[in-house]
Assembly symmetry: C2
Homo-oligomer: 565 residues x 2
C-alpha cells in the first residue's frame, strides 16, 4: 500500500521487489474486507432483534470511519469508548482503525475520578458512550483540570434523552448516517502502527495503557484460531468484555472466520448462556473462570444439556475440579489459558479434561506451551536473565518474545523499558520448566513467599484450599516473620451457608499432604478485596497481615476469627 518499492540489491538478486501486489501491511481490517467479500449475507451480528450481515457490518464500519474522519479525527489519534458489549462497540473495533485512529475501549466499572485520569492520559478526540454510563462520563469531565484541553466530543450510543449532555454531542446513528459509503479505508502506513490501547487490570498497581500494533492484532487473531482449533463460521457468544485485551482479539477473529457475534447487553448469566446456545447454536464463549462458576451453579431445575459442542475458554485462576467436572457434564469443552494484556490475552493453552479426582492431572493442567505465533517462551532468573534448568522445580520468571507482544505502554517509556529486557518481555510471573518443555505457572513475582530461604508458590497453596467444597475464593499472602522470613497466611471467602474454622482448613491442607512449610499459619475468613475486573488485590491483603498480630494456629487450637477486609 504505502511501503516503498525497493529492490534487494544487497542479496545480489535482480528482478525482485515489494509492491502493492505482494506486500500488504498486516491489519485486521483485511479480515473485515474479506468477510464482506466471502461471507456476504451470512450473519455477522445478532443482538436481540438486530441482525446484520457481513456486508452490512462492513458497510457500517466504512461509514463509521468516514464519519470519524469528517469529525476531524486524524491518523494516530485516540478514540475512546465506554460501553458494554454492543454491536456499536464491535463496529468501533474496525471503524476506528479504518479511520487511522487508535481505539481505547475503557473499563465500564471505572469511577469518575479514575475515568478522568484515563481521559487526561489518552486525550481522545472523541468518546463513544453508552447511555448507561453517560452520567459517569459527565462527572469525569467535571473533574478534569480547567487548564487542560477541552473534553472529547461525545457520541451517544443508544438512549437519546440523557440529561446534561453538551449540545455538541451526537447520536451514534446520526454519526453513521454522516459517513460516506464509498469512503476510502485508511490503511496503516506501517503494519507496526498502533491499533488500540487496552488498560491492564491493575491487580499489581496502577493500570497501564497497553498499545497493540496492527501486525500483532492480525497475527494474534490467527494465533487464537490455532489455539482453539477454530473452524470457519463459528458462533461466538460475547461473555468477555471488549475492553479487556480488545476482547481477547475476538472481534477480529470472528471476522477472520466469517462467524457470528452474539451480543448480550447485560453481563451473561447462566440462563442467558444456555438460551443463546440453544437459539443461536453458539460454538464458543470465553472469559474469567467466574463464568464456569455461573454455569455450574445454575439451579438444577434450569439445567440443560447443550445440544452441540461448545468451547469455553477461560484465563486466570484455575477453576476447581468440581466446577470443571460439572460444566463438562453439561457438554462444554473447557480450555484454560495463561496470558496478560501485554501478550494480547491468553498466550498458552491447555484443554482441560477431568479424570476423576486426579490431583496430579489437575496440577498438570496448569502447564502450557506457547502458541504457534509466539516465538519463544522461557523461564529465567529475573536478574541474570539466565534460563533455569528444565528440572520441574527451579522457579524463575516467565519471559516471552514474539510478534504477539505489545508495542509498549502508552506514554510510559520507563514502564516499557522495564518490561522489555535483553530482548524478552518480562511477565512478572513465576514459573518452572518441566523436562518435557512445558511451563508451569506459579505466582506473580510479587505474590510468592520466601520461607526459610525457599520460594513457595502461594498458588499451589490456594489450589489445595480451593478444592475444599465450602471454599468460594481464597488468597494466600506472606506475613513477614523475623525467624523464617515470611509465613503463609490464607484469606478465605466461604460459600453461602457454609461454615469452617481456621483449624478445619489447616487440617484439610495436611490431609491433602501439603508440605509443612506451605500449610498456612494464619487462616482468616471474609470477603476478599477485588478490583473492577474481579482480580483479588493481594497488596491490600499484605497490608492487612502486616497490621495483624500473628496468632499461629496449631492442631486443637482456635484460629484467627473472621476479619472484615
Amino acid at each position: 500500500m504505502t511501503k516503498p518499492t525497493f529492490i534487494f540489491l544487497d542479496m545480489e538478486m535482480d528482478g525482485l521487489y515489494q509492491c502493492e501486489a505482494n506486500y500488504v501491511p498486516l491489519t485486521p481490517i483485511s479480515f473485515l474486507k474479506r468477510a464482506s467479500f466471502v461471507y456476504r449475507k451470512s450473519p455477522s451480528v445478532i443482538y436481540g432483534d438486530t441482525v446484520y450481515t457481513w456486508n452490512e457490518t462492513c458497510d457500517r464500519c466504512v461509514k463509521l470511519a468516514s464519519a470519524l474522519t469528517l469529525l476531524g479525527v486524524n491518523r494516530g489519534e485516540v478514540v475512546a469508548a465506554l460501553a458494554p458489549n454492543i454491536p456499536a462497540l464491535y463496529e468501533l473495533q474496525f471503524g476506528a482503525p479504518m479511520a487511522g485512529a487508535v481505539l481505547s475501549a475503557l473499563n465500564t466499572r471505572l469511577d469518575p475520578p479514575t475515568l478522568a485520569i484515563k481521559l487526561h492520559q489518552l486525550e481522545p478526540k472523541i468518546i463513544f458512550v453508552d447511555h448507561q454510563f453517560i452520567q459517569i462520563v459527565l462527572e469525569a469531565f467535571k473533574q478534569q483540570s480547567p487548564g487542560k484541553p477541552a473534553p472529547p466530543r461525545l457520541v451517544l450510543m443508544g438512549g437519546k434523552n440523557c440529561t446534561g449532555v453538551p449540545s455538541s454531542a451526537m447520536n451514534y446513528d446520526d454519526l453513521l448516517s454522516l459517513g460516506k459509503p464509498d469512503f476510502k479505508i485508511i490503511h496503516p502506513n506501517d503494519e507496526c502502527d498502533p491499533i488500540s490501547i487496552s488498560f491492564t487490570s491493575g491487580s499489581t498497581g496502577k493500570p497501564k495503557g497497553v498499545v497493540y500494533s496492527h501486525r500483532a492484532a492480525y497475527l494474534n487473531s490467527l494465533a487464537v484460531i490455532f489455539r482453539y482449533d477454530m473452524r470457519k463460521m463459528p458462533v461466538f457468544l460475547w461473555t468477555v468484555d471488549m475492553f479487556r485485551c480488545n476482547g481477547w482479539c475476538f472481534p477480529w477473529v470472528v471476522a477472520a472466520l466469517g462467524g457470528t457475534n452474539v451480543f448480550l447487553r447485560e453481563e451473561a448469566n447462566a440462563e442467558a448462556i444456555f438460551h443463546s446456545i440453544v437459539i443461536h447454536k453458539v460454538t464458543h464463549l470465553c472469559g474469567a473462570p467466574i463464568i464456569l462458576d455461573k454455569i455450574a451453579n445454575l439451579k438444577s431445575t434450569e439445567q440443560q444439556v447443550i445440544p452441540t459442542r461448545v468451547d469455553v475458554i477461560v484465563a486466570g485462576p484455575l477453576p476447581s475440579s468440581e466446577i470443571i467436572s460439572k460444566v463438562e457434564s453439561f457438554g462444554f469443552e473447557i480450555h484454560h489459558g495463561y496470558g496478560m494484556t501485554e501478550a494480547l490475552g491468553p498466550m498458552t493453552d491447555r484443554c482441560l479434561r477431568t479424570s476423576g479426582d486426579d490431583e496430579r492431572l489437575r496440577i498438570r493442567c496448569r502447564e502450557g506451551t506457547h502458541n504457534i505465533l509466539m516465538e519463544d517462551v522461557d523461564v529465567k532468573n529475573s536478574d541474570t536473565m539466565i534460563s533455569v534448568p528444565s528440572d520441574g522445580k527451579t522457579i524463575g520468571e516467565v519471559v516471552f518474545r514474539g510478534n504477539v507482544v505489545m508495542l509498549g505502554y502508552f506514554n510510559d517509556i520507563e514502564g516499557t523499558n522495564k518490561a522489555f529486557k535483553d530482548g524478552w518481555y518480562k511477565t512478572g510471573d513465576l514459573g518452572i520448566r518441566n523436562p518435557n518443555g512445558g511451563i508451569v505457572m506459579k505466582d506473580r513475582v510479587l505474590d510468592s513467599i520466601i520461607t526459610k530461604g525457599e520460594i513457595v508458590s502461594t498458588m499451589d497453596i490456594e489450589h489445595v484450599i480451593k478444592s475444599h467444597p465450602f471454599v468460594m475464593e481464597v488468597a494466600v499472602v506472606g506475613k513477614p516473620d523475623k525467624i523464617v522470613g515470611e509465613i503463609p497466611s490464607a484469606f478465605i471467602t466461604l460459600k453461602d451457608e457454609c461454615f469452617l474454622s481456621s483449624n478445619d482448613v489447616i487440617k484439610f491442607c495436611e490431609e491433602k499432604l501439603l508440605p509443612r512449610s506451605m500449610v498456612p499459619i494464619n487462616v482468616s475468613f471474609g470477603n476478599l478485596p477485588m478490583n473492577s475486573t474481579g482480580k483479588i488485590l493481594k497488596y491490600v491483603l499484605r497490608e492487612t497481615v502486616k497490621a495483624t498480630e500473628s496468632i499461629p494456629c496449631t492442631n486443637g487450637e482456635k484460629g484467627v476469627s473472621s476479619i472484615s477486609l
Copy 2:
C-alpha cells in the same frame, strides 16, 4: 533480531518501540524451532526404516546449516538440489535458510541441457544431488560454457559409489557430521528476504525462477492450514514433488503443526498410498489430479476402504465426476484448488462433494474464494485493469494481491514488471465473477478461443468431453479460421481398450447440450504432449492444428482420424 529499535514519534505516542521482544521477522524457521520445543520426541520423518523425532530433525537442520556455512555459503547465496522426496531434501528446506541461503529444488525430470541452463542462471555454490540423478548433473556440468564460473560443489545424497564424481564431492552424512550442533541459526535480516526459488512448470513457455520471501513462506504456511482446516499433528504423505512450489509449502506446514512427514522414494502408486494410510495413519496427501486417477484405477482386488478420513488436495484440471465419486467411495475427502507457483501453490479452494451426476454442481466446484491470507482477488480487463461486472458471464483476467505472492522472477526484472501491474499480480488466467463473489476459472488467457467475436472457454469444452467414460485426457485448442476467427479442435487420449470416433465425441457434446459454437469441429486421437510436470503443452497442439488441413465433421460424416502428436 536485527530490526532497529525505533520510536513511533510520528504517531505522537511515547513509550512504544520495536525490539527483539516484540518484533521477530516472520520465517518458517520459527516453525521448526517451535516443533523441536513443543513436539520433541514426536515423529517428524518416516522413510522406510528411518524415523526421526522433531528434536532430531531440528538438530540435523542446525548441523546442516552449520556445515553449509563452513563450506563458505554466505547470506543470500543459492544452494540447489536435485532429488526425489527424501528426508535430506526436507532438511534442506530448513537447513539452507538457516544458513542464510536460498534453496532451489530443481525438477528431477530435467534433461542435462536444460539443467545446464538452470545452473547457469542460478550459479549455486553447492548442489545436493541424489545418486539417482548424478549422471544427469555430471552431464550438465560438461555442457556448461568453459568461460563460466566453476561448477557448484557436489554433495551426494545416498549411494556413495557413483562414477565420475569429482574428488571435491562430499557425502551428505559426512557433511552433516561436519556441522556444529550449537550453530547459531542465521535469521533473515528482513522478513522479505528470499528463502527459495521454484521454477514454473513452463506450460506456457520458458520456465521462470519464482522467488519466495521468508514472510510469504511463513504466511502461506498458515494459509494452507486454514484452507484445509488442518489440526495439530497431521500425518502427511509426500505425493507432491518438493520441487513444485516448495512442495506447496508443506515442508513448513508440517513443522508448524508438529506433524509427521511420510516419504516414499518412488513416485506414489495407489498400493503405496493405501499401505501408508493403513500403516502410518496418513491424514493428508496432495498433488496433481493424476493422483486421483491412480487411486480410482486401483484394481478391484486390491481396493481397500481407508480406516480414517484422509484429505486429498489436488490442483490443476478438475477431475471427472466418475473419478471423484470413486475416490470418495473409498473414504477420501477431495479438495480442488486453483493456484500457481507465483502464488506459492494452490490459492483458492473448494471441497468437492459429488452429488450424483449434477453437472451444474460439478461446474460450480470450479468456483473458489480466496484464502484468509490473500488480500484481494479480482477479475479485470487485462488492458484497462477495470473490474468486470459480477454477472457470472463477463470474462476477464484473474488478478491477486497479497502477502502470499512471489517477490518476483529471479534475475528477470522484465518478467516481474509484466506480472505486477497497477499493484496486482496478473495470473494470465481467465475467469468470471459470479454475483455471489465466487470466481470461476476459465482458461489461460493464451488457451481461450475467440469464435465469432465471443470468448469461448476451452476448459468448459474439455470438461464435457472428459466426462465421457472412454476419455482419459483431452485438450481443446483453437484452429485459426478465416470466417469465424478460431474453431475448437479437440485432442483426446483414450483409455486402454476403449474406442471412439470423432463423430461419437461430437454427438456426445451435443447430447450434453454444449452450445453449438463450443462443439469441436475437429476431433483427433493420440497421446497428448506433456511437459515434465505432467501439464499438457497446448502450444504444441496449436502448432499441430495450424499445420493440419481443416476437415470439419458433421453428423454422419467421418472425422479426422487419429494423429500422432
